[in-house]
């Protein structure tokens, strides 16, 4: 019974994706909606992403340094480990999970509130495709999400460099040398392919939970929590699948 319910929800989710692209909203209106979503979802997230990335990068660097107890292991490994951790996993995946909480709950609660206050019914009665009006601008705005992750990568490594150098764990040259050792450019492509897919997940799963919620204010809160859980679960699963597909031979 539960399986049937999950399958029906998944089917409904894909039908929703189809609806988003039907009957597009007038471009002049859509343009201003996209700018608003860029501001709400991308610009407003930069502060927290910068803060978390910088300090987590620092922590990765320190922990790596503290685990290098064997004097034969070169210090440049601190830079190497920080680069690999930040670029491959921390920035694309863990920032996306944090964003599932921040952006995702914002998306679910704003759409859910529109549902309970009949604003979505008002759009439908007027003849507006409410899914296109509400979700499409979010999808377009989140095409800028890879820039957020790019900033996260840069600040994570900067944080690691500062912690290593100013903490006395490695010299600047050693850390930078580590950043360059065995650098595989495809890892950057892999990270951004993941990021792009996560952006689509971040825009649509919380929208789904907000759009189809029923009830009142309490249910809006519950829907936000459920949306966060499912967005995180899907990000983790997709992360595993993409890593298998893109990094294994």
């Amino acid at each position: 019974m539960m399986l049937v319910r999950y399958l029906s929800q998944i089917g409904r989710y894909f039908l929703m994706l189809k609806e988003i692209f039907k009957k597009p909203t007038k471009w002049s209106v859509m343009r201003s909606l996209i700018f608003k979503e860029v501001d709400d979802l991308i610009i407003d997230s930069l502060g927290i992403v910068a803060f978390i990335s910088f300090f987590v990068g620092g922590v990765v660097s320190i922990q790596t340094a503290l685990n290098l107890t064997n004097p034969l292991i070169p210090k440049y490994l601190i830079g190497f480990a920080t680069r690999q951790s930040v670029i491959l996993e921390f920035a694309p995946t863990f920032i996306s999970i944090i964003m599932a909480g921040k952006m995702g709950s914002f998306i679910t609660s704003s759409i859910g509130t529109m549902r309970v206050t009949e604003q979505i019914d008002a759009l439908e009665v007027m003849g507006v495709n409410s899914l296109n009006y509400l979700v499409f601008p979010k999808l377009i705005a989140l095409l800028l999400y890879p820039f957020v992750i790019g900033i996260s990568m840069f600040l994570g490594i900067l944080g690691g460099w500062m912690a290593a150098v100013y903490g006395g764990f490695a010299s600047a040259d050693e850390f930078v040398n580590g950043l360059q050792v065995e650098f595989i450019p495809f890892h950057i492509a892999y990270a951004f392919i993941k990021t792009f897919v996560f952006a689509l997940i971040l825009a649509t799963i919380p929208s789904f939970h907000g759009y189809y919620m029923k009830g009142g204010a309490l249910e809006v809160g519950k829907a936000s929590t459920v949306a966060f859980v499912w967005t995180s679960v899907v990000i983790i699963l997709v992360n595993y699948i993409l890593t298998q597909l893109l990094l294994t031979k």
């Binding site: 909203t25 007038k26 002049s28 608003k36 604003q119 019914d121 009665v125 007027m126």
Partner: protein, 255 residues
């Protein structure tokens, strides 16, 4: 004119509308009344196309809704104005943005023309000093006026109101009722109001349809409702002492 023929609607095993037929007249305020659970919200949502009836037809001046293609349905929807129970104003927009929204979405009017039309309807619904305010910054009565202004800004042929007086004090409720009635006759709109407010029935009930258990139990106007012998209607209308006394007075006057 909206003609409803034998519409039925079920949700799962529960049949909410069991075959309702009526004609809702143009230029008149048509009130749908009935107890909670009588099916009036489902009836209104079926007229609006939010619910699709299982059987029966709804025709808008001869256009049968279920026979229209997607483009024709969209076209028809631009002729509909709706005032929701909770006003359903867009939180993120100011009052004038809310009112101008249908024009911005569905017309090719310039910003200047939109502004002129918005100013006109704001004056018409007597909204004062509210242009730049957000819905959360104005009173419930003003929110209803904004909702009415938004509903009529694109010159609708059909105006639907779901419990327009809900949450308003009696004096403001009468003002809103009168405003709806004035607009209905002024612009010759087919207005359908879903209500259980007997003051509205007395004030603006040009035509009243009484629903009970998903069926049309009675229909008439505001003078006939006080003289009917239909037990279900009298039970509903005279549930308060005040209206019992009103009826006695009306019957006495009639005799």
């Amino acid at each position: 004119m909206i003609e409803v023929k034998n519409i039925k609607k079920s949700f799962g095993d529960q049949m909410v509308l069991k075959g309702v037929s009526t004609v809702l007249d143009t230029g008149k305020t048509n009130l749908i009344i009935g107890q909670s659970g009588s099916g009036k919200t489902v009836f209104l949502k079926s007229l609006l196309g939010i619910h699709t009836p299982d059987s029966g037809t709804i025709s808008f001046d001869g256009r049968i809704y279920s026979d229209l293609n997607a483009d024709e349905k969209r076209e028809l929807r631009t002729e509909i104005g709706m005032v929701f129970q909770g006003s359903a104003l867009f939180d993120s927009m100011t009052v004038e943005e809310n009112i101008g929204f249908p024009l911005k979405m569905f017309t090719s009017k310039t910003q200047k023309q939109i502004k002129e039309r918005v100013d006109f309807v704001i004056d018409r619904v007597k909204l004062i000093d509210a242009h730049k305010k957000k819905p959360s910054e104005i009173s419930g009565g003003m929110q209803k006026r904004v909702a009415i202004a938004r509903a009529i800004v694109n010159n609708p042929k059909y105006l639907f109101c779901d419990e327009p007086n809900s949450g308003l004090d009696p004096k403001t409720a009468i003002v809103i009722d009168n405003l709806i009635q004035e607009i209905t006759s002024e612009y010759n709109i087919t207005t359908v109001i879903n209500t259980h407010d007997m003051n509205s029935v007395m004030e603006i009930g040009d035509k009243i349809v009484f629903l009970k258990n998903g069926l049309k139990e009675w229909e008439g106007d505001k003078t006939q409702i006080f003289k009917t012998d239909n037990e279900a209607v009298t039970d509903f209308v005279y549930s308060s002492e005040l209206f019992k006394k009103v009826r006695e007075a009306v019957l006495k006057e009639g005799n």
